[in-house]
Amino acid sequence: MTRKIRVLVAKPGLDGHDRGAKVVAAALRDAGMEVVYTGLHQTPEMVVAAALQEDVDAIGLSVHSGAHLTLFRKVLALMKEKGLDDVLLTGGGIIPEKDRATLAAEGVGRLFGPGTPLKELAAYIAAETAVRRPR
């Protein structure tokens, strides 16, 4: 009788920096999570549709294009629309500190930059999803 932590890792938008997303996906797997990887070039609509079907506990976006404000906001709005209220939205990539604060104030979870230890990401997701959707 176990429900493992399920996380969707996606690269929204047009940028091709997928190394971070792949490294993070593998690290979360190594932390015992079941990670659905959707690959590059996902629109916010595709990300949220996949998250709904996969019944994930968290959505993790990896953004290096500079379009993070638009992308995170759009995904968050679609999550609300689809009723994914107990799902964590987190992520990382190249996101300036002040934009992280802005997004956090709007309901996005923590966002991580280059060099963050992988253990820290997994620990955050495990702790935060446990609060939002107890298993």
Binding site: M1, T2, R3, K4, R6, A25, A26, L28, R29, D30, A31, G32, M33, E34, V35, V36, Y37, T38, G39, H41, Q42, E45, M46, A49, A50, L52, Q53, E54, D55, K82, G83
Partner: protein, 319 residues
């Protein structure tokens, strides 16, 4: 949401309810079993198509192409895509969706990834139940992609209505597949990547091998070996038509066998669980050193432990 409300939602086409229901079934919790009970009357409508074969043969790409053809023909399709769990962490990286992005926004398609959780045979222990729920949700086709299997165990062949074995034109794959009996296991053998050089001759070799090895019916199976390309879509329409053409009577017969096996497997699991009963487990712990010392024979120890396992809890506690 209560199990009852979930069941109603699933049958009414609520995708969120379906997603949550699948998680319940996957968890092995009692609510999952109750949910399946609640939709029992809706089972049996969908055709269940199995897609298996070695890693990298193009199973996910081919499922994507099959879904495209099925949608063009007006069918609604669910996909259950199983990938292996890591034996080290228990986690999993589920990447089959990467190849199926084009269907992400299609209401007539539902894609779910599943980790094998170290079950053998290319599927997870709960894949069958999850397939049932997808069937109950009203899809015309439920396509199940297995973990990349190269070896013998092929649970999908026993569960699906019809199964395609997917191979890619590489000698290594072919030899392995033939050795393991993979080629004989399914209804159709699909040589994918037909756009690559060597694919056509790979198909010919498999056909020739059938002719040489099969005592009878070898020739009849020659047209069960199809050359397709998931990349270009060549041959995929025919493949889908062949998969859907399996007669209802054959499917009905296979489902009877599948159900019998399923009951049997559940009994085996239940029996295996019995040895975890405290009475049996503690006897096993104390008898093991006795067996090692030679004070008790292995047979006698087994008899004692089994008696404790199958006896009622009250009997088992009796000295």
């Amino acid at each position: 949401m209560t199990v009852d409300a979930l069941a109603k939602g699933i049958v009414a086409g609520d995708r969120r309810a379906l997603a949550r229901g699948l998680s319940l079934v996957e968890s092995g919790a009692a609510e999952g079993a109750a949910l399946l009970d609640g939709v029992r009357a809706r089972l049996g409508r969908a055709r269940r198509i199995g897609v298996t074969g070695p890693p990298g043969a193009g199973k996910s790409s081919l499922v994507n192409a099959l879904v495209r053809e099925a949608r063009a023909a007006g069918a609604e399709v669910a996909v259950l895509a199983v990938d292996p769990s890591s034996p080290f962490s228990g986690g999993a990286l589920l990447g089959d969706r990467v190849r199926m992005s084009e269907h992400a926004l299609d209401r007539g398609v539902f894609i779910r990834s599943q980790a094998s959780r170290l079950a053998m045979g290319g599927l997870a222990a709960t894949s069958h139940g999850m397939t049932d729920l997808l069937d109950a949700a009203g899809f015309d086709l439920v396509v199940v992609e297995t973990v990349g299997v190269g070896q013998s165990e092929l649970e999908i062949v026993r569960q699906a209505d019809v199964t395609a074995i997917v191979l890619a034109p590489s000698m290594g794959d072919m030899v392995q597949a033939m050795k393991a009996g993979l080629v004989e296991a399914g209804d159709l053998v699909v040589v994918n990547k037909g756009d690559l050089p060597g694919a056509a001759s790979c198909r010919d070799e498999i056909v020739a091998a059938f002719g040489m090895t099969a005592e009878s019916g070898g020739a009849a199976r020659a047209d069960d070996v199809l050359l397709v390309s998931a990349a270009t879509g060549d041959g995929v329409k025919e493949l889908l038509a062949r998969l859907r053409a399996i007669p209802d009577a054959v499917v009905a017969e296979r489902r009877i066998t599948a159900d019998a096996r399923r009951v049997d497997a559940a009994v085996v699991r239940a029996l295996a669980d019995l040895r975890l009963k405290p009475a049996a487990a503690s006897l096993a712990a104390t008898l093991t050193p006795a067996v090692r010392r030679g004070d008790v024979s292995l047979e006698e120890a087994v008899r004692t432990i089994v008696a404790a396992a199958v006896g009622s809890d009250r009997e088992a506690r009796r000295p």
